[in-house]
């Protein structure tokens, strides 16, 4: 199918981009890699009057160290994230989960910032951002603000970003010595996650000292499995992990769609949490 007509601008700098968005109001769509937006346009599920292509704004791409934090430019592609040595060293969970996004060609174009700003709860990276305690840096007419990932996602495909705000950077606390695992459950390789579990585990003396669990597709937004995280603290063997994982679906509201029922999703969340934590803790 064929996208509806729209106007197009390709700002050369951040200020110009923000100004353009502010002028256009609700009728503009931001184009980064386009891997989510273009299918929507082709199916005529979106009708923007203006598409603002931020793809060539300098300075928004790449990974750098900033003290205890990895600062990842919003336009860094999935492919770059997967292969970046800093990401692999300090945020292995992000690299591992990103490698499961769509397929190689899509990963060449799709961007980390785009995936987060699109805020699809079935997307893999929002839950990972939650588990990693990432912070998202946005720039708007009022300047720059930093939003904790837990406050960023508000509803299905909704974030706290204002229409004239751009996500410019994803800041991930550097974690060394943490185990991690992204367990993605899907029916075919390129389909969306039916459920995904992003687990980060810090071990201390053979026990789990701290676990951070992000859930993909268990509600209208990505979620943290808070009850399971709490129950996991102190778990020292696989049985204890399995017991703790039983609470992984608490507080979630998974949807019913053609691919799964809410009950099955809840069941998967428990099983996958167990598996992800065992793998992350090196107990699997």
């Amino acid at each position: 199918m064929i996208p509806p007509a729209f106007d197009y601008v390709r700002p050369t700098g951040l200020d110009e981009a923000v100004r353009t968005l502010a002028d256009a109001g609700e009728e503009a769509k931001v184009l980064a890699g386009g891997q989510s937006l273009l299918p929507l346009l082709r199916l005529r599920l979106a009708f923007p009057e203006l598409v603002v292509d931020i793809g060539r704004i300098p300075g928004l791409r790449g990974v750098r160290e900033d003290g205890d934090v990895l600062a990842i430019g919003a336009l860094t592609t999935h492919h770059e994230v997967v292969h970046d040595p800093l990401v692999r060293r300090y945020a292995g969970l992000l690299a591992q989960a990103t490698e499961t996004v769509a397929d190689p060609a899509v990963r060449h174009r799709g961007t980390l910032g785009g995936s987060l700003a699109h805020a699809d709860p079935a997307g893999d990276l929002p839950a990972v951002a939650l588990a990693l305690d990432a912070e998202l840096v946005a720039v708007g007419p009022g300047g720059r603000r930093t939003i904790p990932a837990r406050d960023f996602f508000t509803d299905y495909l909704q974030t706290v970003l204002a229409p004239d705000e751009l996500l410019v950077e994803v800041r991930v606390p550097k974690r060394e010595g943490w185990g991690y695992r992204y367990e993605k459950f899907h029916r075919v390789a390129q389909s969306w996650a039916m459920v995904g579990v992003a687990a980060l585990v810090r071990r201390d003396d053979g026990h789990i000292a701290e676990a951070r669990i992000g859930l993909t597709n268990m509600g209208a937004t990505p979620l943290r499995a808070a009850a399971a995280e709490e129950a996991l603290a102190g778990a020292g063997d696989p049985d204890a992990v399995a017991r703790a994982a039983q609470s992984a679906a608490e507080g979630t509201r998974p949807s019913r769609d053609a691919s799964a029922s809410p009950e099955y999703r809840a069941h998967l969340a428990r099983v996958l949490t167990k598996r992800a934590v065992l793998a992350a803790a090196g107990m699997g």
Binding site: F6, Y8, G34, L43, D103, Q190
Partner: protein
Amino acid sequence: MTHISVTVDGTAYEDDVEPRLLLVHYLRDRLGLTGTPIGCDTSNCGTCTVELDGMSVKSCTVLAVQADGCEVTTVQGLARDGAWTPLQRAFHEQHALQCGYCTPGMIMAARDLLRENPRPGPGEVRKALEGNLCRCTGYQNIVRAVLAAAEETSASEERQNTQEVTA
């Protein structure tokens, strides 16, 4: 209309295009490069895979304006003076195509894999082709072809290296 300049298979083009024009339609309808077909509207099938500045992309999910200033390589730009690339030869020799509709995309996706991973195992080939659908072959001979091309390429590189050493 937006002005773009794009180099496709070594030829430079300048055109005014509607911003919504998909790269694949630009290639097919404007440039007449119909070697790259279209198989879906959701970025799933991969038949339209081309290289954009050396990286595989689905040309149905890229706007022509996004390719402004870029180099595009399609399946039509692979053979040099009628000589097929190792991948093209391997697809022929391993019977990796039947109707051939997915073949341009498969070859472009496989090129991408071999650039990053010149000696992949069968599992890695299957994973790398996850975004390209074929309905005829059951993929078995496609996997064989990619492995055969990898082997041929590295064997010929080895030969070359040996020759350089002896020279």
